[in-house]
Subunit: 254 residues, 5 copies
């Protein structure tokens, strides 16, 4: 469970709802037509930017942001060094069936077992990385559309409310409440963009960066094994990608 | 028929019109001079950024966004692997007249039949890809101009309305309705930018990305054939560009 | 005459003036001090960003946007293929005095006649292209300054008007008209940025892109001639830069 | 102690508090629920963009901005030239235990002592530099999130306040104060983005640039030593990275 | 004296002050606390983004923008061609003590006299160019901070004023003037960003571009001399970097 995402999202929404309740209850802040135009209208407009499978797929990609990532660079480096020792001692065949922490690593290892040389390994794993990046960017593009269109829908909703209110100002007492309702869509739009989808978008981007860095280490290590380099050399090279204190720890453990 | 585009656009406009009708009917939201200044003024200003053929051509390019794209990467990969087998077994001549899923593929295949080597094939197909990208960017530039200029025209319209209203405030009762009308152009501008042209622009961009990725696979495959690589090697390389589950499926089918 | 530019600019300004007249005549929209602060103030601030010759030169560059561009890629490709035939048959010397559609082409051709090899030709023409691009970017920078500073001056003008109005609210009847006048500068600023200079800026950018593409074809073709390639090969390569239908037409004509 | 950071931050906050006190005291500017929604809400939303250790780590990274940087390029160049002399005269082994101004330099020196050649040294130090840059960008991303989300939370807070106020306008006297309170969150948001986190973000970016430049010099010098270049040549090359007056001074001292 | 900068700045400020005087005198536009919060507050916040020496150094860099630049590319090209003739005829030694238009040129020439080959010359001059660019970007970063923070401080000032005014609306007559004063800081902020620092920033950027182009020509020419190329070849190459009419003139003069 990604604690930060859950605590953050619940906390931020909690602060907003808390401020509403403190100010007089939630009732003045809920207006079904406003909810429809902002959430529904944005959803439709976002759908129009993409295809139906990509649209539904983006929700799965977002949900994944609330699960913790299982990419641990230190475990990866440790395992890679062990495997480079195995390959050096017993040959590539000995890599068959070795447990590795993720699918990308497994695929590369299988290629080594199948006899791929460094050039082929590199070309194919780089292709995988590129395809992964392009898939992630597709999901991020849809989340970005929510962030861009949400506030615009909020503003359109507010303008609709203002036009209605201004066109009918005979009842002076109704002006205030009408304008309050008109402003709700702007508020919903700001929440959609900055509290709901904004943090998810940022997290998606940094997760992609993390995964790219992780896979770069996998590729680096596998290339070293393919070249038949000594485990010591591979260790030196891979450790440099970790934070200084983690480097110390792993070096001490080695 | 691109369902997502149609449903999305109709749905988003439906939410907006629904909110208007719910609030009191469409009448207060229609004002012909406002429509003219936002849609007409923006159209003219967009025209000024480009040439007449490019301007009219951009509408065709936008209309194409509502047709489904016929680029299926999995079919492409399957067909490419088959053809690489044909070329390997019966020579390049046997590629003549083979059916392929799109014109770009066809052109490259014809070049192979005509005896082009890898260097010539690559140079010419890359030129085609570059020209395609530049054509698409031309269309996108015009759609972007609608998105940039629309809200500005809306704001100019609102300022015209406000100046007229403020200059003549003797009739207090007319102030509200006059301001309502003044705000309409801002609303139209927001709709032009965010509901009409915004999603189309995003879709154009992602379609271009898709087509570039598709053509990169075609080029990759044809280069493999030109180099006389084994179908197995080409398959390995091309599959890496697909999503993992699609890879599994195709590999299983092979 | 660049019809699109003229029609677009006149049309967009026409829509705005039309909306003003429809609303009650032009008089409320003209205020000399407001014109001075927005147009004069912006002109001075733009001048401060650059030098006097560059400032005056930028107007010439903008005026050029209303002339049609004389760069026709299809004529260029046709002529280049003819000349490659001449060079192949009668040697570089035969290129002397051949008519070509533009100065850049002429210069490159003269270099070939003078005996430049491919490396020298490429280095020098690339230098020319770079210098052209940098000249264009200089002009565009000044137009961009109008677009950036215009609305800011409009806002400063409106703030001056508001401060004056708010400081003296004894005459309630004067408040409306004073605020109307204050808003005029914001409106002028929006027109400066979005109707006058905006479309010109976009057009300048796409013209530069066009000219870069045109010159890339010239360079490509001249390099082919310098390498002594066959006209057929040059044709294949150059045609790939054109739109598919134009390609067909030229290929059919050949 | 980084004087500029402290003076700047205290001074800017001082000007703001001064203006408040001058205008009538701090009391009207303090509202606990507003503080909670802007600072608390933003903190939670920022947390959601990242992980708990990264979130807490970012505060340490920010605090470091108030300590002076200990990277002095002139000392570095002087020391590097001395060490290149030592290495040239007494061999790499003589570099063991030499004092150097920072850890990155020390690590590179140790590699030379351990017998690394230029290629290995370069590959590993570049890896370290890349990892450092990516760590810094991680911290900066979190500070950027404060800058982006702070004003949005301020706006949401103001909208909540306005909706409450507009929904209950029976007591005309309460309107002014209610709106005053509503505006506080917008003000807090602007302060969070522009006075508290904005300058820190800019400083983080320029510190990273500085450190990258510093490390590039270290790498350049160590590569020169690894290649066995003369101290004179290394001096020429390294000095060029310094400001002209510092160059003169060091050259004179040499 | 850089006329454009002076005329532009004085003219733009003149238009603004003129509009104020025309509207009723300067008095309503001067408010010392507002001046303090915008200019003082921004200065402090900008200081916090950098170090004290960089902060004070940036003012010198800005002042330099009002001096005309002494970089004349045509003189440079002329002189470089002369010197290439001297080097060709009398050897590198003859370049000693030759007068050149700037320090960078002089340094490169001295390197040639000292016997540097093309590779060393290029590496060291490129290092100088990089260091110059990074110094300029440092200054520009500080000017950019003024442009970013100025309007934010203006907005904070206006919010402070509005909160004070709204909290105390018992004296209806005081509302207008209080709001007028509140708006002053927004106006100051817009002037800081768009009239004072904006044009200087743009000018700094284009001056850097100019200097980079100038130095690229110096480097190009000196490399030609180092390679012992003929003055004619160097001339051809360098002239291509100038505007067409200047090329004609210099070629005619040669």
């Amino acid at each position: 469970m990604d604690l930060a995402g859950l605590i953050g999202l619940i906390g931020a929404i909690g602060m907003i709802i808390g401020a509403m309740i403190y100010g007089g209850g939630l009732a003045p802040f809920v207006d079904i037509p406003s909810v429809l135009i902002v959430f529904g209208g944005t959803a439709f407009a976002v759908l129009a930017t993409t295809s139906i499978p990509a649209f539904t797929g983006s929700f799965k990609a977002m949900a994944r942001m609330f699960k913790p990532t299982n990419l641990r660079t230190d475990d990866l480096v440790k395992r890679m060094i062990e495997l480079s020792g195995v390959a050096r001692k017993d040959g590539m065949m000995a890599l068959e069936g070795q447990s590795v922490p993720d699918k990308f690593f497994e695929k590369g290892l299988q290629m080594l077992v199948d006899g791929a040389d460094e050039a082929k390994l590199t070309r194919q794993l780089k292709q995988e990385i590129k395809a992964m990046k392009s898939r992630h960017e597709g999901h991020q593009g849809i989340v970005k559309a929510w962030i861009d269109i949400g506030p615009a829908m909020g503003m359109i909703g507010t303008l609709i409310g203002l036009v209605l209110m201004l066109g009918n100002m005979s009842d002076v007492k109704a002006i205030g409440p009408a304008m309050a309702v008109a402003l709700l869509t702007t508020m919903y739009g700001a929440i959609v963009a900055n509290v709901l989808f904004g943090p998810i978008y940022t997290k998606m981007q940094s997760r992609t960066t993390e995964e790219l860095e992780y896979r770069a280490i996998v590729l680096e290590g596998l290339r070293g094994i393919a070249r038949g380099e000594s485990p010591r050399l591979i260790e030196d090279q891979l450790l440099a990608a970790l934070e200084p204190p983690v480097q110390e720890k792993l070096r001490a453990a080695a």
